[in-house]
């Protein structure tokens, strides 16, 4: 493990960029695109190092993680002793995340050079924070214990807050940032509770290495452990915008599109999935939690997909699709784990989830950055004002089409492989529990909806006649610094799925939980996949979705208005646009419940507590004034007090002295 020794440097480089850009003078970076070259350079260095470390871990390791840590806090107090470490933990999962995060991050930062060009003075802030964001996400991925992970987890939250609210003069951006921060906070608190449970149960040792090897050493029984893992999953629900804490993500579109790309593809939301994957060795001891993970994931996948159906904002549609795809990942992780706990047979659930995470990172980054190119060209996010743009934005329309095909799940594009694997894993569970029949149906329905709304997006944006002549005329293709990253991502969005045929399944398994006995060859895998009826089912629904979108938005043989004209249709459409009322519910909770509690607390604090304190202090100051007057300055009086005091002490001694 020659290179892993230096893995701790991976988050350091972007951190250097943050410090340099953030704290060195504005003047220095005025000519330097606000410090972009520094951010790009440092991110690129950490990309190279990540690739080297990941390659080493994936090829030379035997599955045992590489751990390196230093003592950070040592508390020694009798039988209450514990140590917190700071370190790095590298296994195949870490390696995968390192590749995904640093690769997407680097491309996003390069792309920003074009996208953020017109931001002027604010650019320095942008590059500083985005460097910090990348740094803490890499730190999170490398963390060697739950506490350290939590620290980075919180920092990721902070950075997302700063970036979503980047245009801080815009009220909607400011409130979106606040919403993102507060809603994920709920998850963070649950994560913290989970940490407490683990801390107590594992007697103060939160190191992954220790916990994964000694899950049985947990004190407090399986119910407590289940509670703990549920709470940890609660943290993931907040961060990864799963039902019912999903509503911050669409609002988070207020940030620059590059930030959305980063949050959705590489950093923020992937942290939740990573957390569940990381905690897998613990979670397989608590089947209930895994079942909850699967159900929440499956439900969110479908639920979020429905909201994308009639939205006209290009970024929002992508936001819902992210929530939905994250749901897929949780569904895969939860289903795979639960089935394993029931059958003790290795299955592909975990692999499928992480595989989808990787593929999704590429095609979602591609989609967001393409959408960014469109927005950059037409200066609007409303798809109703677009149309016919493929003539003007040839490259963009092409790469976005690749992204759409990929997410829709058409072979051999990357999304197909992982989605199919997920559905296969869930289907396997039907023999274990009938719940999985429902979840499989959800998954299949989601596949249909995804294909539909993604192609609706593509047709509305790029095909047909321009709906707004003015915007159309001003549209222009992006500079090379933007489309080159797009092209790279397009290549990956097309090809990353082939990793499946080259040993992905064998290397990304939950080590310490189970391993696959034999490694299937590429040919076997292909045969297995394409002789399975399920594969065709998922391809057919995807094609059906694309076909429907084609008929409605390209050929216009089915008028979309038909679905919204009737009373029922209108109601459904409005409910979807109102996000099932979740936005209102959040506001209601915030305004009535939280603000109400705050008002009561404020009253108690100001009137009752402060009132008592003020009364006491007023009384004491008055007492001071009174006692001060007793100090007459006459030495005779002092002598009297000495004698009287001495006598009092004598009397006291005889009274309470216990004689």
């Amino acid at each position: 493990m020659a290179f892993a020794e230096y893995a701790w440097l991976i988050p350091i480089f972007p951190l250097i960029a943050f410090v340099v850009i953030g704290f060195l003078g504005n003047r220095l970076f005025k000519k330097w695109e606000g410090g972009a070259p520094v951010a790009i350079g440092m991110t690129a260095i950490s990309l190279i190092l990540s690739l080297v470390v990941a390659f080493e871990a994936l090829t030379t390791g035997d599955g045992t993680p590489f751990v390196q840590s230093i003592e950070w806090l040592v508390v020694q107090s009798g039988d209450f002793a514990f140590t917190f470490n700071m370190g790095i933990y590298i296994d195949n999962l870490t390696a995968l995340m390192l590749i995904v995060v640093s690769f997407v991050a680097t491309l996003v930062v390069i792309y920003s050079l074009g996208y953020m060009h017109e931001e002027g003075e604010k650019k320095r802030r942008y590059y500083a924070i985005i460097s910090l964001f990348i740094s803490v996400m890499l730190g999170l991925v490398l963390a060697s214990n739950f506490l350290q992970m939590f620290i980075f987890w919180e920092l990721v939250g902070l950075c997302s807050y700063l970036l979503i609210g980047f245009w801080n003069t815009r009220p909607s951006a400011a409130s979106a940032a606040k919403k993102a921060f507060l809603v994920t906070r709920i998850g963070d608190i649950m994560f913290m509770i989970g940490l407490f449970v683990l801390f107590v149960g594992f007697q103060g040792n939160l190191d992954f290495e220790y916990i994964f090897a000694n899950v049985d050493a947990f004190i407090g029984g399986n119910d407590l452990l289940t509670f703990g893992t549920l709470m940890i999953f609660g943290g993931a629900v907040g961060k990864s915008a799963q039902f019912p804490l999903h509503d911050w993500l669409p609002d988070a579109m207020e940030g620059p599109t590059t930030v959305s790309a980063l949050i959705h593809a590489a950093t923020m939301v992937k942290a939740g999935v990573y957390l569940v994957a990381r905690s897998y060795p613990v979670m397989v001891d608590t089947p209930t939690t895994l079942l909850v993970v699967a159900c929440i994931g499956g439900f969110t996948a479908l639920f979020a997909a429905t909201m994308a159906l009639n939205n006209t904002n290009i970024k929002r549609v992508l936001a819902y699709s992210t929530i939905s795809q994250l749901g897929y990942m949780f569904l895969a992780l939860g289903a795979g784990g639960y089935i394993y706990t029931q059958t003790l047979e290795p299955n592909v659930g975990y692999t499928a989830g992480m595989f989808h995470l990787m593929n999704h990172a590429f095609f979602k980054a591609l989609l967001f950055l393409s959408a960014g190119a469109v927005i950059h060209a037409v200066h609007t996010e409303d798809m109703r004002l677009m149309g016919g743009l493929s003539k003007k934005l040839k490259i963009t329309s092409l790469v976005m089409l690749i992204g759409c095909i990929s997410i829709a799940g058409i072979p051999p594009f990357s999304g197909f492989w992982s989605k199919d694997l997920i559905l296969e894993a869930v289907f396997e569970g039907i023999s274990v529990s009938p719940v999985f029949a429902v979840l499989y149906a959800f998954g299949l329905a989601t596949a249909f909806l995804t294909a539909f709304y993604m192609f609706r997006l593509w047709f509305m944006t790029f095909s047909g006649e321009p709906r707004d002549q003015h915007t159309y005329e001003h549209a222009h293709e992006s500079p090379a610094v933007m489309w080159v990253p797009l092209a790279l991502l397009a290549a990956l969005a097309f090809g990353s799925g082939f990793a499946f045929l080259f040993g992905f399944e064998a290397s990304i398994v939950p080590h310490g939980v189970f391993e696959f006995d034999h490694v299937a060859s590429a040919g076997d895998l292909l045969v297995a996949m394409f002789t399975n009826v399920l594969t065709y089912a998922s391809i057919i629904v995807a094609l059906a979705g694309i076909g429907l979108a084609y008929l409605m938005y390209k050929k216009k043989s089915i008028d979309p208005a038909r679905f919204t004209s009737g009373t029922v249709g209108k109601t459904i459409s409005n409910v979807l646009l109102a996000r099932y009322g979740f936005t209102k519910a959040y506001d209601w909770i915030g305004l009535k419940v939280v603000y109400g509690v705050a008002k009561v607390a404020d009253f108690i604090d100001r009137r009752i507590i402060d009132g008592i304190i003020n009364a006491i202090s007023a009384g004491l100051i008055r007492a001071g004034g009174f006692l001060r007057r007793a100090q007459t300055g006459l030495v005779q009086a002092y002598a009297v007090v000495v004698v009287a005091g001495g006598s009092l002490i004598v009397i006291l001694l005889f009274l309470v002295g216990g004689i």
Binding site: G625, A637, V641, I649, L653
Partner: protein, 489 residues
């Protein structure tokens, strides 16, 4: 041949003290005289440190009933007294340059210090008494040093009268104890008291000793002289009284109560506890309404004495740990209170008044003075990470520990915490005046370098003891253990 090694530090000091008036015939400069005094004090410090590193000298007197023993406790307290004297002399170098009788001034300070050191190594009620009287006589004269100053003279008269009274009270107590036990040696007294049951005369003696020695510490209700005297005396002497002489009273109480009277089978600890709580509360409450810096600091000293007094009842349960806390607080208090008084002295030197309102705008006019004062105020209030916080923490934890055995002792800790919160009000007020309120002028103030140096020493100690308290705490613990012979030093 008797070995007088135990009083070498005092002898060095006294030699210098005696030499200075003679030298004054030749040297007129106050700075030179102060310099010579500083050399004497430094030499004495050197002697003490030598003993601490190379083992303590043999005791003076009968091994079973020693008169003087220079042990770890004496060493620590001697260092405190000598450091205070050092800082005070340093601060006085320019402060008294226009006064007459300069030689006597420095001589008296060193004499008083020698007396205090004698007390810290005394093992017999009579040697304690003699030490106290040496120190007292010298400080009486020091308070009256500017004899044309009415306030100073008035203060000195009050000081002498009340001092005489308490001297009488403690002598009465000593004679009663001698009557009961037939000895004046602390260890002998303890042995004798342990063998006999509760004796009303012994209890009476205990009350008288508390009253007599309590005068020095200014515990309530024997505190009333303190504000008048601190206000009347020149500021460096106030520093000397608050940081030095007061601590002598505490070491006496530690010795008398822990070594001598602990065997009295009566619940006298409750009474001392009540006195401690009263002392801290009344001191702090009256301090709230003070407008004169020196009076405010005087009352704050009374409050702080209450914290230190807490150690005695706590020691009856948790033993040396409580005394460790008491000694540590004595050390930290010596520097923070001494420093605060010297800042007042510096301000008086540059003709800024003693009223708190006179300190308006000091943050701009004398940044270092204002910063140091802020640190001293915060330390006195017990704000981490300054020294006052650490020493209060030790006392508080001692009270929590003691409460596991004797429940009421938790209230000592509670009183400590509440009083600390209360005291913040008047400490922070000073800071507010210095930084928030606008002064009439922004003219910079120039303070003589000797005063600045004295303040800097106190500042470094105040911050340093808060951050690196371990070695000092170790030392305090070693000193405290000498009071508990069973534990071994």
């Amino acid at each position: 041949m008797m070995d007088y090694g135990a009083i070498y530090p005092e002898i060095i000091l006294i030699l210098f003290a005696v030499a200075i008036p003679a030298l004054h015939m030749l040297i007129k400069s106050s700075r030179a005289l102060a310099g010579i005094s500083l050399v004497g004090i430094a030499a004495s410090i050197g002697m003490v440190v030598y003993y601490m590193l190379n083992g303590y000298p043999s005791i003076i007197g009968n091994p079973d009933a020693p008169l003087l023993s220079f042990d770890a406790l004496a060493a620590v307290f001697s260092l405190v007294f000598l450091s205070v004297a050092f800082v005070v002399v340093l601060a006085s170098a320019r402060y008294v340059e226009k006064d007459r009788h300069l030689a006597e001034y420095f001589t008296l300070i060193m004499m008083a210090t020698a007396g205090m050191m004698l007390v810290s190594s005394a093992q017999d009620l009579l040697t304690i008494y003699i030490g106290i009287e040496i120190a007292s006589m010298a400080t009486y004269a020091l308070v009256a040093f500017r004899k044309k100053d009415k306030r100073g003279s008035e203060a000195a008269v009050k000081y002498v009268i009340i001092g005489g009274m308490s001297s009488a009270l403690s002598l009465y107590g000593i004679s009663l104890l001698f009557g009961v036990t037939g000895t004046t040696n602390l260890i002998g007294i303890n042995a004798a008291l342990a063998s006999q049951g509760v004796d009303l005369a012994a209890l009476m003696a205990l009350a008288l000793l508390l009253a007599g020695f309590g005068f020095k510490i200014a515990i309530v209700p024997f505190h009333m002289w303190a504000p008048d005297v601190y206000e009347g005396a020149t500021a460096p002497i106030s520093a000397f009284l608050a940081a030095g002489s007061k601590k002598m009273g505490l070491v006496v109480l530690f010795k008398v109560f822990i070594v001598g009277l602990i065997a009295i089978k009566a619940d006298w600890d409750i009474v001392v506890g009540i006195v401690a709580v009263l002392t801290m509360t009344i001191g702090n409450v009256i301090a709230l309404s003070q407008t004169n810096m020196k009076r405010m600091l005087a009352y704050s000293s009374i409050g702080q004495a209450g914290y230190m007094l807490m150690a005695i009842p706590l020691a009856t349960v948790v033993g040396d740990y409580a005394i460790t806390g008491g000694i540590f607080h004595i050390i930290t208090h010596a520097f923070m209170k001494g420093g605060a008084f010297i800042v007042v002295a510096a301000m008086a030197y540059v003709a800024i008044g003693e009223s708190i309102a006179d300190y308006k705008g000091l943050g701009k006019r004398a940044p270092f003075m204002a910063f140091s004062m802020t640190m001293f105020m915060f330390a006195l209030a017990g704000i981490p990470p300054l020294s006052g916080f650490m020493s209060k923490v030790v006392l508080l934890s001692a009270s929590v520990q003691a409460a596991e055995v004797t429940q009421w002792m938790i209230w000592l800790g509670v009183a400590l915490v509440l009083n600390s919160a209360l005291s913040l009000y008047y400490y922070v007020r000073v800071i507010k005046y210095m930084y928030v309120e606008k002064g009439e002028t922004d003219a910079k103030i120039k303070v003589p370098v000797t005063l600045t140096a004295a303040i800097a020493i106190c500042l470094v100690a105040t911050i340093g003891l808060g951050l690196f308290f371990d070695p000092v705490l170790e030392l305090c613990s070693e000193a405290a253990r000498t009071l508990f012979p069973a534990l071994g030093a």
